[in-house]
């Protein structure tokens, strides 16, 4: 085995597959995951192993195969270790969440498999407690094995809405309604793409059958117009295709408008190690592709470090097939969010800093040419703790829709600062703060 260490960040399918490929190729591999357990967004393991959430069989088997191979491999796994960025000298910074301290590493190569983030587009009231992302709601079910209490409304666009609705139903807590913004019927092109990937059809059938049985209706063309507090609950105004409004009072609203690559910290650092992106953080293609992409990332590292690498033509073919499937699927959905013209000025856009659409409109009305930098530094959009993960894309699209010419780049609003996430100053001090013992 080579004594050069390579580092993989992210314990989802892409990160695990990359780690395994590099360990097989003779490299010394350390796999870091910020959360308490491996699995990533799709294979998240329950807190209590005796509680199981039903997932499609093929999906469960994919993870089981990876987990078994990992257990049998020499890969070192560090959970609760958060990648905080690559600093100027090229050192990789990891925050050990148990001790609260920063650890530095100088790996020969770095694989970033940070996964995707959900897109949630602004609607008035989306910043209220009780409004979550559909994936956030799914995480609650996956980790506790129970349905969250209270009445749930799912809204937005994308296959995840249906998946989460089915999982809620399986746990005995069918959602009040599922609103899918898209009005598109299944097109022939989409079907042709899907038929090439039968696994997806089985998974979709598995999701849809229990929903139909439970009498849940997918309201196509309907979306959330606004959410306001109603005592301890949330009063939601929904609007359908012909503009009719209806009010629903629920306990939780789960929003979702597709997935985006988690790009934070993925900009190459000048003196940093050879870095490869893998899985959803490179291109959102789903769980099957993430495994193939992880293997290919491992292969790229092996080749770069002069290790013998296997032929992974199969993985490359999987990636191409999944890309076709994803683009076919994407034509069925509408991730654009509410028409900004319908959004009142007090709609919160930046959920971290509470910056509103009115403030953004004001900036655009005042300046003749507001740059991305001004939007960020003066407007404080994309400046909050999430570093623009939830507002930058929307802000860039909105600004582009309001004027001609070169639209601002999302990357300029997100920026490429480190730390990737807010790291407590105490972490940089040599004294460990009083910390939770493991």
């Amino acid at each position: 085995m080579s004594d050069r260490e390579v580092l993989v960040i992210g314990g989802g399918p892409a990160g695990v597959a990359a780690a395994l490929e590099m360990a097989r190729g003779g490299l010394k591999v350390t796999l870091c995951e910020q959360g308490p357990r491996l699995g990533g967004a799709i294979h998240r393991q329950p807190d209590d192993p005796s509680r199981r959430v039903r997932v499609p069989k093929a999906q469960r088997q994919r993870w089981q195969a990876l987990a078994e191979a990992l257990a049998a491999s020499p890969v070192t796994v560090l959970c609760r270790h958060m990648f905080a960025g690559v600093e100027g000298s090229g050192a990789v910074l990891l925050e050990d969440r148990a001790s609260g301290r920063i650890v530095t590493r100088h790996p020969a190569a770095l694989v970033l498999a940070l996964g995707g983030v959900e897109r949630a587009t602004p609607v008035p009231g989306w910043q209220l407690p009780g409004v979550v992302t559909a994936g956030g709601l799914q995480m609650m079910m996956k980790s506790t094995g129970r349905a969250p209490d209270g009445d749930v409304l799912l809204a937005g666009s994308g296959p995840l809405l249906v998946a989460v609705a089915a999982q809620l139903t399986a746990l005995g807590k069918a959602p009040v309604a599922v609103l899918e913004r898209s009005t598109s019927a299944v097109s022939l092109r989409a079907l042709a793409g899907l038929i090439r990937a039968p696994a997806y059809l089985w998974e979709a059938a598995g999701y849809l059958l229990p929903l139909t049985k439970a009498g849940i209706r997918l309201q196509r063309g309907a979306s959330v117009r606004s959410i306001v507090p109603a005592g301890d609950r949330l009063s939601v105004t929904i609007v359908d295709t012909i503009g009719l409004e209806q009010r629903l009072v629920v306990d939780r609203v789960a929003l979702h408008d597709g997935l985006l690559p988690n790009g934070n910290g993925t900009t190459p650092a000048p003196n940093g190690p050879f870095t490869v992106l893998a899985g959803d953080c490179r291109e959102v293609l789903g769980g099957v592709a993430a495994i193939a992409d992880g293997r290919l990332a491992g292969l790229a590292v092996l080749a770069r470090l002069g290790q013998a690498a296997p032929d992974l033509a199969g993985a490359a073919a999987t990636l191409r097939r999944e890309r076709r499937t994803q683009s076919a699927l994407n034509t069925l959905f509408d991730y654009s969010g509410s028409d900004a013209a319908h959004l009142p000025d007090d709609t919160v856009i930046c959920r971290c800093e509470g910056r509103t659409l009115g403030q953004l409109r004001g900036m655009l009305a005042a300046g003749d040419r507001v740059s991305a930098r001004e939007i960020k530094l003066n407007g404080r959009f994309g400046m909050g703790a999430c570093q623009g993960r939830f507002c930058a894309e929307w802000v860039a699209a909105f600004v582009a829709s309001q004027r001609d010419g070169q639209p601002p780049q999302v990357a300029e609003i997100v920026g490429s600062r480190w730390p990737v996430k807010p790291v407590p100053v105490s972490a940089f001090v040599d004294l460990p703060p009083s910390s939770p013992s493991e």
Binding site: R97, V117, Q127, V131, T133, G135, R351, T356, G384, R389
Partner: protein, 86 residues
Amino acid sequence: MTSTSQAFLFDGKAIPFDSNETIAMALDRAGIRTLGAGQGNSTGRYFCGIGTCQACTVSVDGTRMEACLTPARIGLQVERIASVSL
């Protein structure tokens, strides 16, 4: 594996939790949805569940951590943060 004896403190109130549960899950089951003062009219809350939005940041024994990523432990002192800006 529910044990009723294990609890952490949230703003001084004992919150029971199940083995391996995160702080965010235990607070949600206790009916607590507002996790901090936040900024403007955005309060601290659980949102993404995967450590990306930072909206659930609380103080855990004096250190800022995402409640959705941090496992609950007996005796932890968890507090709402007055403002989550940096």
